[in-house]
Amino acid sequence: MSVRVGVVTFPGSLDDRDAARAVRIAGGEAIALWHGDEDLKRVDAVILPGGFSYGDYLRCGAIARFAPVMHSIIERANAGMPLLGICNGFQILCESHLLPGALTRNDSLHFMCRDQRLRIENTSSPWTADFTSGQEIVIPLKNGEGGYVADERTLDALEAEGRVVARYLEVNPNGSRRDIAGIANERGNVVGLMPHPEHAVESLTGPSTDGINFFTSVLKSMVGS
């Protein structure tokens, strides 16, 4: 019985098919979820993929957070279901207040696509359990609004509670505070990540295969429970 991982498609989602591919390569079953449908089709985990949902109009993720599918997702996430937001997905999670802080315009004002070195700092979440703590990886980053911001109190809390999941190394590509590339909620089941692990799962098309561990992590954590 393979683990069912839902991948949501909003109008304007772009990396949904890539996320589904990554789930399949990791050994899971990718289930397509439609933004307008509240039915989560008995999935064990959900991925909000990258892209430009609703064209990034108003603010990135601001409209997508109110989609019918999000009602069900928020409910289940609050009950512990693993939820990963990649790039635009991270933006949606912050707009939904499932994660603290917000993503703002890159300080360079340019869209930036680069192979980014990261350090994985939290391996207790279901999305990162398959990494070793402090492991350095290289996965693609591609965004125009990736600067993570939050007030000092929140940032201190994230650090103190070990909720910074990934940090930029060598180069901070967007001005994110404390070089934060990804964070988790208090419970640890909801993770937001700015870079794209789904683009680093095949050596043929990516800078490495380091990204696959995000997907194998959640499969392994499901099998255990």
């Binding site: 603010r59 601001a62 912050c94 001005g175």
Partner: protein, 84 residues
């Protein structure tokens, strides 16, 4: 007929790279003494009827939750009644 205007600005402590870029342009184009530029958004919402009571409350909520992101933005809402 009513018109509601919602102005949304980044909170003062949030980095505004667009505002900064605009500031640079103003200076380069000859404007002296510029001490700061912030860039924001304005929403103009035209409605039939009047805006008060529950309707106004809903608008405030929408301004606080949809039109602005309370983590990084502040908003100001004004109601302009149009007699015509």
């Amino acid at each position: 007929m009513a018109r509601v205007v919602v102005d949304v600005m980044l909170k003062p402590e949030i980095l505004d790279p667009q505002g900064r870029a605009v500031e640079g342009s103003l200076r380069r184009l000859g404007l002296t003494g510029v001490t700061g530029v912030r860039q924001g958004k304005q929403f103009i919402i035209d409605l039939a009827g009047v805006v008060e009571g529950e309707r106004l409350e809903l608008l405030e909520t929408l301004a606080a939750e949809l039109l602005s992101n309370p983590v990084i933005e502040d908003y100001k809402l004004r109601v302009i009644e149009d007699q015509v």
